[in-house]
Subunit: 231 residues, 2 copies
DNA sequence: AGCACGTTAGGACATATGTCCTTTCGAAAC
DNA sequence: GTTTCGAAAGGACATATGTCCTAACGTGCT
């Protein structure tokens, strides 16, 4: 590892307060890997050899069926772990991962992590916290996806991205880069998403202008979401 | 704790090889709790105080919506943990739990588990393994539920309960106690399940006699399942 | 301007799935 | 044997969602 990389690694570790997790002696095993927008980072079925930390950029985790359908499981921003479950279970990659923006990951080989576990049990606790949280949110969204129609899910999504300060409504745009992606995230077809959006627009819940969607009536949205919200 | 309970607790711990996890000194904090068939064990939103181990019987984990719909997340048989994620995250119970049969759970208070963590780090590793596995299966079934129609899910289910010895097909009955429960498990309405079953029967994939379903053509079933299988 | 391309928007139709209701059926109770 | 009751089976209809296709639109490029 060259000097530049070393410096970068340390600064990321400092930035995210990972000093306790990775003692200085361990960092020699770690790597810094930048990635480009749109790049395929991992493919379902891959056998991982390292645990990755997303420290910059945005990625999406998704499932692809043999028939070509895709379902976005979640988006991730720093600080996020990739490969934690795979490390623990020793199983192949469950979902594919793609870069939504450019970014950076730092990584540590599985082979050295088992040593780290022994010397720093806090690392196991860290993994446990991470995986438990993943399970919690996954379980929550699953129930929602299974039990409510697209309209409710869309309303929940819109609520979750509208940062509502006390009473003041900031009309926000969607965070997904486009409607196709949003459809994959909500778990429906683009066509159907469009249909539901049109209905919401007709009911003055949202407004569509120039391909962007703006929230008009937060209260109606809350009613539609039936108390559900993403994450 | 009386003598009887003590003996019972020890025998369960022995049976499931939990000796290393719970040193003798810790066992005084543990309880044995039998439960009846149909009993509601936990309700979503409860605040848990103990970690439970299912050591006998069968339970189901499910979600209830305010509208009364229910979705079965999974069935569990010994040895299974309940409350692991809640313990780690300190959050209220995510899903309701009901006893399918009578059974027994043993439990340990959260308050003492943090001590156990310090003295026996292997306990954390045990939790991590458990939660990682839960996440893995949850994620798998989620994708399947979102991406495939009921017919595929039903075929997968039937495959997963048909223990197929080399070439020999054991025509098995379903493990869910009835079709209503099966519908909740697959994530559809009873009516629709019935419809799909009828179609499968018409195609000679299964046979329905006296309310029980028998697998007739394993190969066709495999084709229908498209390589998916539960768990 | 004119073209290329990805995104947005929506019509027409097919399919998947849900809701409500009625009938049948078999086991258990009387 | 008759009654009772929950589960099985399915008809009729409504709704949710998917598929295929076409058109409009905006942005960047030539």
């Amino acid at each position: 590892m060259n000097e530049k990389q070393h410096t970068t690694l340390d600064s990321y570790i400092h930035q995210y307060q990972l000093e306790d997790l990775f003692p200085a002696s361990f960092r020699q095993h770690m790597k810094v890997s930048p990635f480009e927008k749109g790049e395929t980072l991992f493919t379902a079925g891959d056998q991982l050899e390292e645990l990755y930390f997303l420290v910059e950029g945005k990625i999406k985790i998704f499932t692809l069926t043999p028939e070509g359908k895709s379902l976005i499981n979640r988006f991730k921003r720093p600080l996020a772990l990739i490969g934690d479950v795979e490390y623990v279970k020793g199983s192949p990659v469950l979902n594919s991962v793609e870069a939504v923006t450019e970014g950076v990951m730092i990584s540590a080989p599985f082979s050295h992590l088992s040593d780290l576990e022994k010397e720093h049990p806090s690392f196991i606790r860290f993994l446990l916290d991470t995986v438990a949280h993943k399970f919690y949110t996954e379980s929550h969204t699953t129930s929602m996806h299974m039990l409510y129609p697209v309209e409710v899910r869309l309303a929940s999504y819109l609520l979750s991205i509208s940062s509502v300060g006390e009473g003041t409504v900031f009309h926000q745009e969607m965070r997904t880069s486009n409607l196709i992606e949003l459809a994959e995230w909500i778990g429906t077809s683009y066509r159907h998403l469009n249909r539901v959006l049109k209905k919401m627009a007709a009911d003055h819940v949202v407004e569509r202008t120039n391909g962007s969607v703006t929230i008009k009536d937060l209260e109606k949205l809350r009613t539609l979401a039936k108390g559900n919200i993403y994450e």
